[in-house]
C-alpha cells in the first residue's frame, strides 16, 4: 500500500467489531441441522467487513470527499443534463407512503401511489404530445429498447416481417445502435451534412421497405435542432417506418416543440436528466416511453388506468410486448420527477428551456473566440467545440478536460459526438448562474492561453486531484476487479 492510498473498508476490518443492531431472536431456536440439509449450510463465512458505525461513516465521508457532484461544483457534461437536484424531491421520495410500500400489495392499499403514477403519465403525455405513456423502463437505454420492441411488434402484427433495419444518424448516442441490436434489428447509419444535420439525400437513399424505424435525437447531439424534421418524418413514414425520439435532449425544447407534433411515433424520456431525478453516480434513472395511438396496444404491461375513480393495473393487454421490468418501473425516481414538474408548473418548464438555451448560446459565443466552433449557428441547450486549434499545439481535448479538474470543474463530455474532431460538448443547464458560467469561461480561456504559452501545464494535468492520471491500460490488461486479502 502506498502511504497516500485511501483505505478500503476491508482493510479497516477488525474481528469482533460490529456495526449493526438486529432485532432479538424471540422465537424458540431450532438447531440449524434440523432445518437445512448439510449440503446447503455455508461452510466458509463471506468476508464482509467488521467495523463500527463510526468507522463506516468516516469511511464513506472520506470517499464522498473524493467525488464531484453537481452540489460540489459546475458539471457541464454535455448530453447528461446535470442540473440541480432539488432537495424537496428527496424528502418527498422518502415519505413512508412512497418509500415503504410493497409493489404486490392489494391495489386498494396503494391508491395514492397509483394516483401519482397516473397523474405523472398524464403530465408526460401533455409534455411530449403523445397519446399514452408507460413508466416501466428503468433508464434511457431501457426505454429505447422498449420502444423498439413495440415498433417490432407493430410491424409484425401487420405482417411486415421484413422491416429489419433501424436507421441512426452518425451523431447518435451509442446506446441507439446497441438497443436496436438487442431488439433484434440491424443498424444502418445515415450521414450528417456540413451543417451538422441529417443529410436528407442520404436518408432518402437508406430508407426502404426494410426500414423499421429512424431513431433521432432532436435537437441532435451537436445541440442543433433538426429543422427538416417534418420532411424527415414524411420520408420515413412514406417508406412505412416509424419515427423514434430519443428524449435525452428534451431539456432544449420544453414548451417549444413537442415530439408528438414533430411526427414522432415513440418517445423515451430520461427523467433523471430533464426532470431532475438525481444521477446517483450512474443510476438509478427512469426512462418512460410515450407512444402514438397506433402503438398503444403494444405497451408493456401493466399500465396504470383509472376506472370509476379507482386506479387499477391493467394487465389485459393481449398484444403487449410483455413485461420489461419486474413491477412498475423506478417509482422512487418517478416520484422525484413528479414533484419537480408540479414545482415548476407550465410557466416554470417554459423558463427552464429558455434559460438552458440562453446559457448555452452565451457560453458558445464567448468561447468561440478561443476554440473552434464547427457549427456556427444558434445552438439549443448544448453546443460542441473542437479542440483542433489546441491539438496543433500538442494539447489534446483530453488534456483540456483534465486541466479543468484543477479549477474545480467537472469537464464537458469529450470525444462525442464522433463526427467532430477533438470534440468538447458543453451543456450548462438552466440552474447555473451567469457568474458560474463566466468563471468557467475564464478558466477555459486561461487553458487556451496555457496551450499556447505553457502546454506542459495542460498536458500534465490534473495537478490538484487526489490521484493523477490513472493507468487504464494496466487496469484492462491485468484486471483486478475485487479486493482479496493478501
Amino acid at each position: 500500500m502506498h502511504s497516500q492510498d485511501q483505505q478500503l473498508i476491508f482493510e479497516m476490518s477488525q474481528p469482533g467489531r460490529i456495526g449493526y443492531s438486529l432485532p432479538e431472536l424471540d422465537v424458540p431456536e431450532t438447531d440449524l441441522s434440523e432445518l437445512l440439509p448439510d449440503e446447503y449450510i455455508r461452510k466458509e463465512e463471506p468476508e464482509l467487513p467488521e467495523v463500527s458505525e463510526l468507522d463506516i461513516m468516516r469511511h464513506y465521508t472520506a470517499l464522498s470527499k473524493r467525488n464531484h457532484g453537481v452540489d460540489s461544483g459546475f458539471y457541464p457534461l454535455g448530453s447528461c443534463t446535470m442540473k440541480y437536484n432539488p432537495k424537496m424531491n428527496e424528502n418527498v421520495a422518502r415519505f413512508n407512503g412512497f418509500a415503504h410500500i410493497h409493489p404486490l400489495q392489494d391495489e386498494s392499499t396503494v391508491q395514492g401511489a397509483m394516483e401519482l403514477m397516473y397523474d405523472l403519465q398524464q403530465h408526460l403525455i401533455e409534455i411530449t404530445g403523445m397519446d399514452e405513456v408507460t413508466l416501466q423502463p428503468a433508464a434511457g437505454a431501457h426505454g429505447e429498447w422498449t420502444g423498439l420492441m413495440m415498433i417490432r411488434a407493430f410491424h409484425e402484427a401487420n405482417g411486415d416481417n421484413n422491416r429489419v433495419k433501424v436507421i441512426v444518424p452518425d451523431s447518435a448516442h451509442g446506446t441507439n445502435p446497441a438497443s436496436a441490436t438487442v431488439a433484434g434489428f440491424e443498424t444502418v447509419t445515415v450521414k450528417s451534412n456540413e451543417s451538422g444535420l441529417v443529410d436528407l439525400e442520404d436518408l432518402r437513399r437508406v430508407v426502404g421497405e426494410d426500414t423499421a424505424a429512424l431513431m433521432l435525437t432532436n435537437p441532435n447531439t451537436l445541440g442543433l435542432f433538426e429543422e427538416n424534421i417534418l420532411e424527415m418524418a414524411e420520408i420515413v413514414h412514406n417508406a412505412g417506418g416509424k419515427l423514434y425520439y430519443d428524449g435525452a435532449n428534451l431539456n432544449a425544447v420544453l414548451s417549444k416543440a413537442r415530439p408528438g407534433d414533430m411526427g414522432f411515433d415513440v418517445v423515451h424520456l430520461n427523467l433523471h436528466k430533464t426532470f431532475t431525478g438525481p444521477h446517483g453516480g450512474g443510476g438509478p434513472g427512469s426512462g418512460p416511453v410515450g407512444v402514438k395511438s397506433d402503438l398503444i396496444p403494444y405497451l408493456p404491461k401493466p399500465i396504470v388506468a383509472k376506472r370509476d375513480g379507482e386506479f387499477v393495473f391493467d394487465y389485459d393487454r393481449p398484444q403487449s410486448i410483455g413485461r420489461v421490468k419486474p413491477f412498475y418501473g423506478n417509482f422512487g425516481i418517478n416520484v422525484r420527477a413528479y414533484t419537480y414538474i408540479r414545482t415548476m408548473g407550465p410557466d416554470g418548464l417554459k423558463a427552464v428551456t429558455e434559460y438552458a438555451v440562453l446559457n448555452a448560446n452565451y457560453m458558445m459565443r464567448r468561447l468561440s473566440e478561443f476554440y473552434d466552433l464547427p457549427f456556427d449557428r444558434h445552438c439549443k441547450h448544448e453546443f460542441v467545440l473542437s479542440g483542433k486549434r489546441q491539438k496543433k499545439l500538442g494539447v489534446r481535448t483530453l488534456d483540456i478536460a483534465k486541466r479543468l479538474l484543477d479549477f474545480g470543474y467537472h469537464p464537458p463530455t469529450i470525444y462525442f459526438p464522433l463526427n467532430v474532431e477533438e470534440c468538447i460538448m458543453i451543456e450548462p443547464t438552466e440552474t447555473e448562474s451567469k457568474e458560474t458560467l463566466d468563471d468557467f469561461i475564464d478558466a477555459m480561456i486561461q487553458i487556451a492561453k496555457e496551450a499556447e504559452e505553457n502546454p506542459e501545464v495542460v498536458q500534465e494535468a490534473p495537478h490538484t486531484t487526489v490521484v493523477s492520471r490513472l493507468d487504464e491500460t494496466l487496469a484492462a490488461r491485468k484486471p483486478v476487479l475485487r479486493y482479496q486479502k493478501i
Binding site: L48, E126, G263, G283, K434, T465
Partner: protein, 448 residues
C-alpha cells in the same frame, strides 16, 4: 419568471442577449419550423409553492398502507428487512447522489472505490470470481444472463424453472424475443424444479438453465443434481439468488453456477413500490470479459498511488455499438452504494445472524400455522418463505387483514392455476413472535 431553481436575473438576461447579439430569447428558437412550434404553455397543473406541494404529496403518500405502520408478511421478491439507519445518511451525501457516471476517475474516486467494494462483497456472498457494478434489478439481470448465455454458447434455447419469480420469467421472455431466443419452462414438482422433466427437456441446444435459489416458494433447489445435468450438456448454469440468504446458505458458486444474479434489495434498499432496487451480476472468471454493464478495476496513478477506473470497456455498448450483446448503459450506482453500506454495517457476523433469524422465524411461523390446523404445501427446507393453503381467495383474505394492520402474503393464484387460494408467506427477521402469532390468529377462520 422568478423561481428558486432559476438564477438568471433580468439584468443577466439583457447582458447575455447582447453578447450573443440578439434582442430576445425567442430568436434562439427560430430554427424550429413554424408548423411544429408549440405555442403557449403546457396544459398541466400550475406550479405550487414548496410547503403546499409538500402537504399535497404527503396526503397522497398517506393514502397508501405502508410497511412501517403495518405488519407485513408479503415478500415474493421484495422484503421488509432491517435497514441500518446509517445507510440513508451515507447515500444522502450529495457528492454521491448528484454525481454522474465516473467518467473522470480523478474526481470520482469515491464512487469508483465504493463500487469496487460492492463488487467484492457480491463476490464474497455468491462465491463467484467477478461481479459487475450492478444492474437495473434482479429481473433484468436474469434476462441479461440468458442473453449472455446464448451469446457465449451460440445456442438459441433457454430453460427456466417455473419456480423462478413469475415477473422475472416474464422479463426474460420479453428480452428473449428481441434476440430470437426460445424460452421453455421447466415445471415444478412439490415446489422445486422437476428434475425428471428437466432431463427430458435437456439437450445440446440448450444455452442455459435458469433456476432460483432459494426459489420463488422459498425452497432449496436440488443444486448438485441440477449442476450435473446442466453441465453434462455444456449449458450454462444460471442461478438467481437472494443475497441475504447466502449469509447462511452454501453459495451458488460452490455448486458450480456459471452466472449468479439477483437483487440486493434486502440490503438497505426500501421497497419503494418495486423500484429502484439493485440488480447484481456475478460470473466465473472465464466469463469476465462478457459481463454486461460497467466494471470497476483497480490500477495505479503516475505516482504509484492506488486508484480505480471503469475498465474492460471494450465490452460496452458505446464502443461495440451495433455488435452489442447488451444495451445497458447505466447501473444502479446509488442503490449499489446503499447495499454496500448495509452489507458493511451488517458485516461478516451480522449477515449470518440476520439470515439465520429469517430461517428461525419462518420456521416458527410454519410450526404455528400447522399447530393451528393449516395445511402447508411444498413442505421442506426453506429460507424465509413458505406456502399456506387457505379456504378463501387470497385477495379477499388480504382485504380483511389490512383492516387489522396486516399486509398479508402473495396470492399465488395470480401466476399458478393449481395454486389458487394459496398464500406465499414471508417472515423476515423483523417480525416478532407476537406479530407471527397475531397473523396466524387473524387467519384463524381461513384454514383449508
Amino acid at each position: 419568471m422568478k423561481h428558486r431553481y432559476l438564477p438568471l436575473t433580468e439584468q443577466d438576461k439583457k447582458s447575455m442577449l447582447s453578447t450573443i447579439g440578439i434582442s430576445s430569447v425567442d430568436e434562439l428558437f427560430n430554427d424550429i419550423p413554424e408548423k411544429v412550434r408549440f405555442k403557449g404553455e403546457y396544459n398541466i397543473k400550475s406550479a405550487k409553492p414548496e410547503t403546499a406541494l409538500m402537504k399535497e404529496l404527503a396526503l397522497m403518500a398517506g393514502k397508501n398502507a405502508d410497511l412501517k405502520m403495518n405488519i407485513s408478511f408479503l415478500g415474493a421478491g421484495v422484503y421488509d428487512h432491517y435497514m441500518p439507519v446509517i445507510v440513508d445518511h451515507v447515500i444522502s451525501r450529495s457528492e454521491f447522489y448528484t454525481a454522474y457516471t465516473p467518467y473522470q476517475p480523478e474526481i470520482s474516486q469515491g464512487e469508483l472505490q465504493a463500487i469496487f467494494e460492492f463488487q467484492t462483497m457480491i463476490c464474497e456472498l455468491t462465491g463467484m470470481d467477478v461481479a459487475n457494478s450492478s444492474m437495473y434489478d434482479g429481473g433484468t439481470a436474469l434476462a441479461e444472463a440468458a442473453m449472455l448465455s446464448a451469446g457465449q454458447t451460440k445456442r438459441k434455447k433457454v430453460l427456466i424453472s417455473s419456480a423462478v419469480h413469475p415477473e422475472s420469467r416474464d422479463v426474460v421472455k420479453s428480452y428473449a424475443k428481441g434476440q430470437y431466443i426460445e424460452v421453455i419452462e421447466i415445471p415444478q414438482k412439490d415446489g422445486v424444479t422437476n428434475l425428471d422433466a428437466l432431463k427430458e427437456l435437456m439437450n445440446d441446444e440448450i444455452a442455459a438453465v435458469i433456476v432460483q435459489y432459494p426459489n420463488f416458494f422459498g425452497r432449496m433447489e436440488p443444486m448438485k443434481e441440477l449442476e450435473e445435468v446442466i453441465h453434462s450438456h455444456k449449458s450454462m448454469f444460471v442461478v438467481s439468488s437472494n443475497p441475504l440468504s447466502l449469509g447462511v446458505l452454501t453459495p451458488p458458486g460452490k455448486f458450480g453456477a456459471d452466472i449468479v444474479v439477483g437483487d440486493a434489495q434486502p440490503f438497505g434498499i426500501p421497497a419503494a413500490f418495486g423500484g429502484p432496487h439493485c440488480g447484481y451480476f456475478a460470473v466465473t472468471s472465464k466469463l469476465m470479459r462478457k459481463v454486461p454493464g460497467r466494471l470497476v478495476g483497480q490500477t495505479v496513478d503516475e505516482e504509484g498511488r492506488r486508484g480505480f477506473v471503469l475498465t474492460l470497456q471494450a465490452r460496452e455498448q458505446h464502443i461495440r455499438r451495433d455488435k452489442a450483446t447488451s444495451n445497458i448503459c447505466s447501473n444502479q450506482a446509488l442503490n449499489a452504494l446503499a447495499a454496500s453500506v448495509a452489507m458493511t454495517a451488517i458485516g461478516k457476523k451480522g449477515v449470518r445472524e440476520m439470515a439465520l433469524a429469517n430461517i428461525q422465524k419462518a420456521h416458527y411461523a410454519k410450526k404455528v400455522f400447522k399447530e393451528n390446523g393449516f395445511e402447508l404445501v411444498f413442505e421442506g427446507p426453506s429460507f424465509n418463505e413458505f406456502v399456506v393453503k387457505l379456504s378463501k381467495p387470497v385477495k379477499e383474505v388480504n382485504q380483511n387483514l389490512i383492516k387489522k394492520g396486516i399486509i398479508g402474503g402473495y396470492d399465488l393464484g395470480r401466476d399458478y392455476q393449481e395454486l389458487e387460494q394459496h398464500m406465499l408467506v414471508a417472515v423476515t427477521e423483523l417480525r416478532t413472535k407476537e406479530e407471527i402469532d397475531t397473523f396466524v390468529n387473524e387467519l384463524g377462520d381461513y384454514h383449508a
